[in-house]
Amino acid sequence: MTPHDWYVEHRAAWVAGSLDAREQEIFADHLPRCEECRAEVARLERELAWLPMAAAPTAPRPGLTRQIAERVLRRPPAWRRYAPALAAAAVLVAALGLGVRERRRVTEVEVLLAQRNLRLAALEDTLSVIRGAARVVQRDISMDGHRGGLLIFQDETSHRWNVVVHGLPAAPAGTVYQFWFVTESGMVRSVELPMDRGRPAFATVSMPPIPAAIMGAALTVEPMLARSDRPEGREIAHVDF
């Protein structure tokens, strides 16, 4: 028995509609792929087409045929019957599209807001250091004929400094402006201060977590990516407290 014999044996059952649910699925899956079975099933259906007329006729109750005719003729065409559903679907799709777009906009606004909040928090933090400063140190500095200044706000409560440098040219190629703490036990590297935008450079820095007393600060020009724990380049400013 070949696998196809199963389908041959079950053609009659398919036409009768008596296959079990699983068999029905299997046969339905096979039919579109088998020309022979399709042709045989069509022939069987054609040859048995009159079998339903084995049932004796039942006279309709009075008025039924008229009711059916009226119902059928009054029935709106398919496109009109489905129009409300189609319209509703279109509205839904549009609403979904709008919703997606609006949701995207909301997300963009949320991201923007988060960025603004971060920036605002940073500015507030900077301002709090400046406003809470127990000491403010200011020094005039110069570099290659440019005159500028170094301003340090020291907030003893939060153990942070706000450092502002202005008036200096951009650091020479391959170098950066480096800020240092001067402590009892030596120099401690802090932050790099970019001066390439023609505007003052701001930095809020934490005081080094060492027990040694902080005695001052320095600003030097160091080779880019230098990691030495002591200045090797040209000193621009040195402040003693």
């Binding site: 509609g17 049932a55 006729p57 009711q67």
Partner: protein, 205 residues
């Protein structure tokens, strides 16, 4: 006598000679043709569906739906070999089977089903009312004779499968025979019926 028919009700008064091109007129959206079709076919569709469902209300719903489908889709009947009446019968039977299975699944009419099951499976009425004036009656007589010529055990399987919407396994359980026997009997019965029904031609042009 099936319910709804009065003994002296005249047979549907449409002469076959007047029915030429009913399908073509339906395609042309001739509403009078639809009324004629309904008058002609309703007794047969109702007889079939009501016999299967054992429920007049549901049967009328199904038949009404079949005509709605026919009115909507008659123009799409592309196959010239697809004749109108067998098409209507097939649609009606399929819908009745759908209803039978849905009913079975959902158990919506449990009380009615109990009575229905107690009375035995649905069967094609084999009474012989004098309906010789009914258009299509000659077809019924031929089909009836073909079915009646089957051995009893084969006819029972056809009744249950084709008109009762039962599956193989349900029939096997109901008749207490192996499933393979059910399949064989159905196949043999169909082979005989094919030969017997082959000469029948459509009576609705």
């Amino acid at each position: 006598m099936p319910r709804g028919r009065t003994a002296d009700r005249p047979a549907t008064g449409i002469a076959l000679a007047d029915q030429t091109g009913l399908r073509a007129r339906l395609v042309a959206r001739d509403e009078a043709a639809l009324v004629e079709l309904i008058e002609l076919a309703t007794p047969w569709l109702l007889g079939l569906v009501q016999g299967m469902l054992q429920d007049q209300d549901e049967a009328e719903e199904v038949v009404s739906g079949v005509f709605a489908t026919a009115w909507e889709r008659v123009g799409t009947l592309g196959d010239e070999h697809e004749t109108l009446m067998p098409w209507l019968l097939r649609v009606a039977r399929n819908r009745a089977i759908d209803r039978l299975r849905r009913r079975s699944r959902l158990r919506r009419k449990a009380a009615r089903l109990e009575a229905y099951d107690a009375a035995g499976p649905a069967s094609v009425p084999f009474h012989e009312p004098d309906e010789s004036g009914q258009p299509g009656w000659h077809v019924h007589r031929s089909v009836h004779a073909a079915l009646g010529a089957l051995p009893e055990e084969q006819r029972a399987v056809v009744q249950l499968a084709y008109f009762g919407g039962r599956t193989h396994s349900e029939i096997a359980e109901e008749l207490g025979i192996p499933m393979g026997t059910v399949k064989t009997r159905l196949r043999l019965a169909f082979d005989k019926l094919r030969a017997s029904l082959a000469p029948i031609r459509d009576w609705v042009p």
